[in-house]
């Protein structure tokens, strides 16, 4: 097979990967539109996709003003959760007593449902931004600390021994081996974290607040404006997807060796197909 045809095969496979999910999404939207148009489900209970888009456009600027608040909470909570999570992972990796003392508490925090703790946070810290940020920290902290700690601890023991034989300090071993070894786990944790963070912010706003997409949701729910409800649900979902995509972009930038590996693998595959 020639190089040109090998590259065409590869492009075709990329296209196929994108076309199938697109077809299934369009099919679901079409089915949903039919259910609404033919009133299989009453319109006030299930607005059609067209009505949802209409509601989104109608309330666009209002949604954006609420989105600003939700995004700010998400950003602050995520950054703080990541910093605390990463710092805790470093501490637990460096100091065994800290691991033994903190790890069970970290796990315990995750057994308490966010829905149960959110009203308490509102009660203790009021209706402003503080309880939302604390809830997001609690939600985002866990995937970061567990993933990163696992990355630190799974570093190649032989590589560490090699560094030790060169006289490397603990910090140098961290800087040259553990830090990089934990990066894939860290980014996996971060992907989960950003999606959870948006949901966490909305949940906290839902339970009490003055602004944010959660507050907007409670208002439209009370006025039975389900088209607006659907519009905000899709907006939240879209924001989560964009944040996950941004994490993927960041990961590619921070881990260029992964791209090099992919390029080499593809080159080898093409060579194999060619032969």
């Amino acid at each position: 097979m020639t190089r040109k045809s090998a590259s065409t095969t590869s492009k075709k496979s990329v296209m196929t990967n994108r076309v199938y999910p697109l077809i299934s999404i369009l099919a679901i939207l079409a089915l949903w539109e039919c259910l609404s148009v033919f009133e299989v489900v009453p319109g006030y209970m299930l607005p059609s996709p067209a009505q949802t888009v209409e509601a989104f456009i109608g309330d666009f600027w209002l949604l954006m003003s609420h989105l600003k608040v939700t995004l700010l909470e998400t950003l602050l909570g995520t950054v703080m959760g990541v910093v605390i999570g990463y710092g805790s992972a470093m501490l637990m990796d460096r100091w065994e007593p800290a691991y033994k003392a903190v790890y069970p508490i970290v796990v315990l925090t995750q057994t308490i449902p966010a829905v149960a703790i959110a009203p308490l946070l509102v009660l203790w810290f009021g209706y402003k931004m503080m309880p939302k940020i604390i809830l997001i920290i609690l939600i985002t902290f866990f995937p970061i600390v567990i993933g990163t700690l696992d990355g630190f601890r799974s570093a190649d023991k032989d590589a560490i021994n090699l560094m030790r034989s060169m006289g490397a300090s603990r910090w140098q071993i961290f800087k040259h081996i553990k830090f990089f070894n934990a990066l894939p786990n860290f980014f996996s944790g971060l992907r989960i974290t950003v999606a959870y963070a948006v949901v966490g912010a909305v949940l906290a706003e839902w339970l009490g607040g003055f602004a944010g997409l959660g507050v907007y949701m409670t208002r439209v729910k009370k006025s039975f404006a389900y088209d607006k409800m659907f519009a905000v649900i899709f907006l939240i979902s879209g924001i989560s997807l964009i944040l996950i995509w941004l994490v993927n972009v960041l990961q590619k930038k921070c881990m260029p060796w992964e791209n090099a590996e992919t390029i080499t693998r593809k080159r080898d595959e093409n060579r194999w197909i060619k032969n």
Partner: protein, 257 residues
């Protein structure tokens, strides 16, 4: 005075003695093979020499100084090439210099001076996964050399390579060792490799591991073109096989007592 000596090194893990009373000596520029069956404690001996382990008794002497249990004096290349997948080749080989505190750019420049000598031209900006097994070994060897151009311990440096690549890299290795004059002790399971590359061979066997014999290879390293096809080479092989067999049989006999 020898370049490197171990004097009566004994190492235990718990109650189990892994190596006992190991005494070896290496002179400046020598290439010493350490040959033995699996489990005879060769890697443990290397970990003691490099300072990763502190032996329960015995001493490691480098240039007349006692360096027992201290790291950072002798370069060490482990079984795997252990090139860090997230660093480019130039940063991988410059790692020992960075650990020593040399600024990054200066470390890269120092490393770059040796790329041609080690047959690594054009690989500076590549990642380890983009190189073949043989090239990776060369890079790992350059990293070992940059840590110390004095004494190196190589733990089965070529065992992961296929036969053809290994044979090529043996020739290359002998050439490069002539140029850099690195005092080296290397572990191998391969009798051919030991005879082909070494000036002297220590044979380890038993549990706990002990030095059983020492064989000096008469033909100088510089005159070993097609050495592996000569009668002399075969004679060394026969001698080593006999020594290993004799030991293994004796060990098995005593293990029933």
């Amino acid at each position: 005075m020898h370049k490197l000596e171990t004097k009566n090194i004994t190492m235990k893990f718990g109650d189990e003695t892994i190596i006992r009373d190991i005494t070896i000596s290496v002179d400046q520029g020598e290439l010493i093979g350490l040959l033995g069956v699996s489990g005879s404690g060769k890697t443990t001996l290397f970990n003691c020499i490099s300072g990763i382990y502190t032996p329960v008794s015995g001493r490691v002497i480098l240039d007349g100084k006692d360096i027992t249990g201290t790291t950072g004096h002798i370069s060490y290349m482990l079984q795997k090439d252990l090139l860090l997948p997230y660093k480019t080749i130039e940063d991988n080989v410059a790692l020992p210099l960075l650990i020593r505190g040399v600024p990054k750019q200066e470390a890269r420049e120092q490393a770059a001076e040796h790329f041609e000598e080690f047959g690594l031209e054009g690989t500076q900006k590549k990642y380890p996964k983009q190189l073949s097994g043989g090239m990776r070994q060369r890079a790992a060897l350059l990293r070992t050399y940059l840590f110390s151009d004095d004494v190196a311990l190589l733990d089965e440096p070529f065992s992961a390579l296929d036969t053809i690549t290994r044979s090529r890299i043996h020739r290359w290795y002998l050439d490069v060792m002539e140029k850099i004059n690195l005092t080296t002790v290397f572990i191998t399971h391969d009798i051919n490799e030991a005879v082909l590359l070494s000036d002297r061979i220590y044979i380890m066997s038993g549990k706990p591991g002990e030095i059983r014999s020492e064989i000096k290879i008469g033909t100088p390293r510089g005159k070993r073109q097609n050495f592996d096809l000569t009668d002399e080479f075969m004679e060394y092989k026969r001698q080593i096989v006999a020594l290993l067999d004799e030991r293994e049989i004796r060990d098995e006999d005593t293990s029933h007592i």
